[in-house]
Structures are given as C-alpha cells and as structure tokens.
C-alpha cells in the first residue's frame, strides 16, 4: 500500500478546510492554460493548479487542452482565430509558438461561456517546463500540480513515451514532490505508476464519457488500481459516493464547479477539493461559510 505523500494531503480536506483547485489556471478570469493564468492563480492564494499536457512533434510536453489546435482560442500570426485545427503532435514546439492563445472568440459558444476572461496579447502555449520552473521557486513551494495527461486512446502505443517525456521534465525540475498525475485514461495512469512509483495518481471520470469505459463501482476500482484521488464530474455524484470513496482512503476532487449553488452543494457533500474556473469565487464562498482552503 502506498504511503500518503504530502501532495495528496494537500488535496484532502481537514476540519474547517476544503481545497480549491484552479481549473486550467483560472479559466473564468485569465486565458486558460497560460503562464499568466498560473501566476495569478498562485498569487491569489490558490496553490493547487490543474492543467492539460500534450506532446509536440518534437516530444516537448506543452500545456494545452486539446490534442489539436483549438479554434476559439488560437490566433494565427495575422491575429485571426484559426480555421484549421491541426494536431499538436504534427507541430514542433517552435511552430506551436507562432500562435497566440491569450484571447477567445466571443462569436463561438465556447467564447460566450467566459464573458469575464481577460484578453491578453502575446501569450503562447507554455512548455510544461515553464510551469515546473515557476513552482520550483521558493515562494511557490506550497504549489501543487494536478497534471492531466491528455492521451489519445487511439494511440495506445504512444502512452509509454508520453509518460516518459512528462516525467523527464518533472524530474529535471525537481518537482515530483509537488505533482499528481491525472487522466481520464486509466491505462496511462498504470504506465505512470510503473515509471514513477513515487508520484501519486488521480483518476478522472465522467459518466457521459464514451471514450473510456467505466466500471460500476468506480471508487473501489480506483482504489484497487492504486489511485490516490478520484476526480468525478460534480454532476455524477451523491454525498454517499463521496463518503464511500473517502472511507477507502481516496481524496475526492470534483470538477468543474462554477455556479455558487453547485459550489454550495459540493461543500455540503463533503468533497475534499473543488476544481473551478473561478477559484476566487470558491474562496469567497468558503470564506462566507467560515471555511478555509489552506
């Protein structure tokens, strides 16, 4: 049985404390998965940051959500939102750096969902190494990375290299003790455990996801698979599910909880941590209810 590492303790509730995880930094307020967003999430006193990692053609782990360029958030060198969603895996890191990702196309439904997001010139897709270097700074020693590996289940033979490349960056920066490896693809998490037994794993689930089959008793399955955290979609769970998982020793981190009424329900359900595009809103709500997050 694994011992509970410090980074898992930091995702678990304590009396009077429920944790807050900044989703893609703080997508409601800053461009998602950008260094600006991560810097200000940490500066706001939210040390737990969630983000997504994909590999470039030259095997550089980069922080972006989709396996392809994303039309509503990628601008070309002419400042236009892109029309062609090329695979990230087809571009070198240098080629990826030609796109800006600090704005959102408000004519899309995706853009309309984030009416308060800052629109900032000059932001690029960061390398994972940039974020690791940031959280390695002594002032960010409390920072914890919930690093989602965005694996493409059709490319199972690439899992091992993907994990190896991510771990190389983490080891190079000495941030293994600040990292939790997180995925919907539970097979890649087995690969993570094999390659990095010292880094805890976090199992994502969503009932409506057709890409990955889910077992009937998810917490038991996560526990048996050696997971430390279970991260269900917040609409999939009951208070009993939360309690059952916690009784097995799992931390329960729900996502992506943005409405105040939903934040309240998750607090009432007793979750360990709330992952939100508006981590400041969760801070306010916890404060109002006499709770803390660290």
């Amino acid at each position: 049985m694994r011992t509970m590492t410090q980074q898992i303790v930091d995702f678990k509730k304590r009396p009077g404390v429920i944790r807050i995880v900044g989703h893609r930094g703080a997508r409601g307020v800053f461009p998602e998965n950008t260094m600006l967003g991560f810097e200000y999430t940490l500066a706001s006193g939210v040390p737990l940051v969630e983000f997504d990692v994909v590999l470039t053609a030259d095997d550089v782990p980069v922080i972006t959500h989709n396996p392809t360029l994303h039309k509503p958030t990628f601008q070309d060198q002419a400042g236009q939102f892109i029309s062609n969603e090329l695979p990230i895996r087809s571009l070198s890191f240098a080629e990826l750096g030609r796109y800006e990702v600090g704005k959102i196309d408000g004519t899309t439904s995706y853009g309309a969902a984030f009416p308060d997001q800052a629109q900032v010139a000059g932001l690029r897709v960061p390398a994972l190494a940039e974020l690791c270097a940031l959280v390695k700074q002594p002032r960010h020693q409390a920072a914890r990375l919930l690093l989602e590996l965005k694996s493409d289940p059709s490319l199972t033979n690439m899992r091992s290299n993907f994990v190896a490349q991510v771990l190389r960056v983490i080891r190079d920066h000495g941030v293994a003790g600040q990292t939790v490896l997180h995925s919907f693809d539970w097979e890649i998490l087995a690969d993570c455990q094999a390659q990095a037994p010292d880094i805890p794993t976090s199992f994502l689930s969503i009932a409506s996801n057709s890409e990955f089959d889910l077992p009937d008793d998810i917490p038991a399955h996560v526990k048996a698979a050696g997971g430390a955290l279970w991260c269900p979609h917040f609409q999939d769970i009951t208070a009993k599910d939360v309690a059952d998982a916690q009784r097995m020793g799992l931390g329960v981190v729900v996502w992506t909880v943005n409405a105040i009424s939903d934040i309240d329900q998750m607090i009432d359900f007793g979750v360990d941590a709330i992952c939100s595009d508006y981590p400041e809103r969760v801070q306010r709500r916890l404060s109002d209810r006499g709770l803390r997050w660290e």
Copy 2:
C-alpha cells in the same frame, strides 16, 4: 491653453479604440486598492488604473478608498473584520500596516456585491510610493495612474498639504508623466493645477452627490476650470453630453460600469474610456465588437 499631454491621449478614444480603466485595480476579481490587484490589472493588458489616495497621520499618501478604515474589508491582527472605523488620518503608516485588506466580509451588502473577488492573506494598504515604483519599471511604461485624491471637504485647510505630499511621491518616483490627478473635490484640483501645472486634472461628478455642488453645464465648467478629463457617473449622461464634452476637447471617462448591457450602452454613447471593476469583461466585450483598447 494647456497642450494635451501623452497621458491624456492615452485616456482618449481613437478610431477602433475605446480605453479601459481598472477601478481600484480590478475590484471584481482582486481585493481593491492592493498591489496584487494593480499588478494583475497591468499584467492583463489594462494599462490604465484608477485608485484612491488618503494621508496617514504621518503624512504618508496611502491607497485606500475611505477616509476611515472600512469595516467590510479591513481585518485586525486577530483576523476579524473590524468594528471601529478609525480615521486613516489618526493612524501612522506603521499602525495602518497592522490591518489586512485582502478579504471581504460576505455578510455585508458590500461584500455580497463582489462574489468573485479573490480572498488573499497578507495584503496591506499600499503606500502610493509602492504603486509609483511599480509603474516606473520599464515593462510598465505604458501604465497610467488615475489618482483620486479623497479629500474631506470639511478639512479644506488640509488640501494644500495633501496635494504637496502626493506630488512629492510622484516627483520622487519620476512618474508625473504617467499620472492624472482626479477628484470629486474640484477645489483640490485647482490646488493640483497650481502646484503641478504639468500634470493634467480629471473632474469627477455624480448627480446624486450631496457633498459637492455641481454646476448646470458640467463640461463647460470643467473646461473653464482647466480640466482635461470629465468623469461622470455612467447613469448621469446621454450620448449628447458625451459629444458636447468631446467637442470642447475633454475626454469622457465613465464609471463604474460593470454590467454588459451598460458597457454596451457606453460604447454606443461614444465615451473615451470605461472604468470598471471588471476590466477583463470590458476587454471581452470590446473584442466581441471588433474594438480594441490600446
């Protein structure tokens, strides 16, 4: 007649450009009038920041809105929101530093108005000197300060010293060229013009304000008084008022515009700049309408 200084050009619209001013930094998202809020606002690509200045007992210009401590936002050394609103003028800068100002009391109507504001430990009332030092950094050369002098009209004999202390800090840091002096108290603005003829002045007005009498034709009065900007409350004006003031050469900066429908109306009215607690929301709205802010 005054020549138009660069800092006034930066508050005026151009074809395709309407300016955004961050109100007290970005009060909707970060604790108001804090260095964290100012840093975030500037980092988000909003170079124009509004804030409020008051003098301590030892004549240190500090950045805080009220002439007294403010119950909903000041916490004592025990972490409790204060019960006694002492005058800032009765406290030394060192004494003022014993209070934290990074959280908001959600049980008050003031707190309830800002449900998305980050709650951050360790923030103090900044000295004006700290903000001047920040915007003097080369990376912030585009930053402009809309510095509101919060004068107490019952203490008219203190105006001259207040202006002198503020100007000393501005001159010491070499940021006169980045500053506009701003007040509801138009008499203190006359003092500003006398003591600093090189720094433009900005005349605040609100129809419902009983502290300061307003003339019938406000723009003409502001113009005659040597003002560069007129800053009316956004609910007090019509498109004709805006056009009239601009015809006289005044820049029109409206405050505090937070709702998207109001932001849209102000764009339609043709104002020069929109001062908002949610400057990112104004960025999003301008972007969606094909406009820029710099």
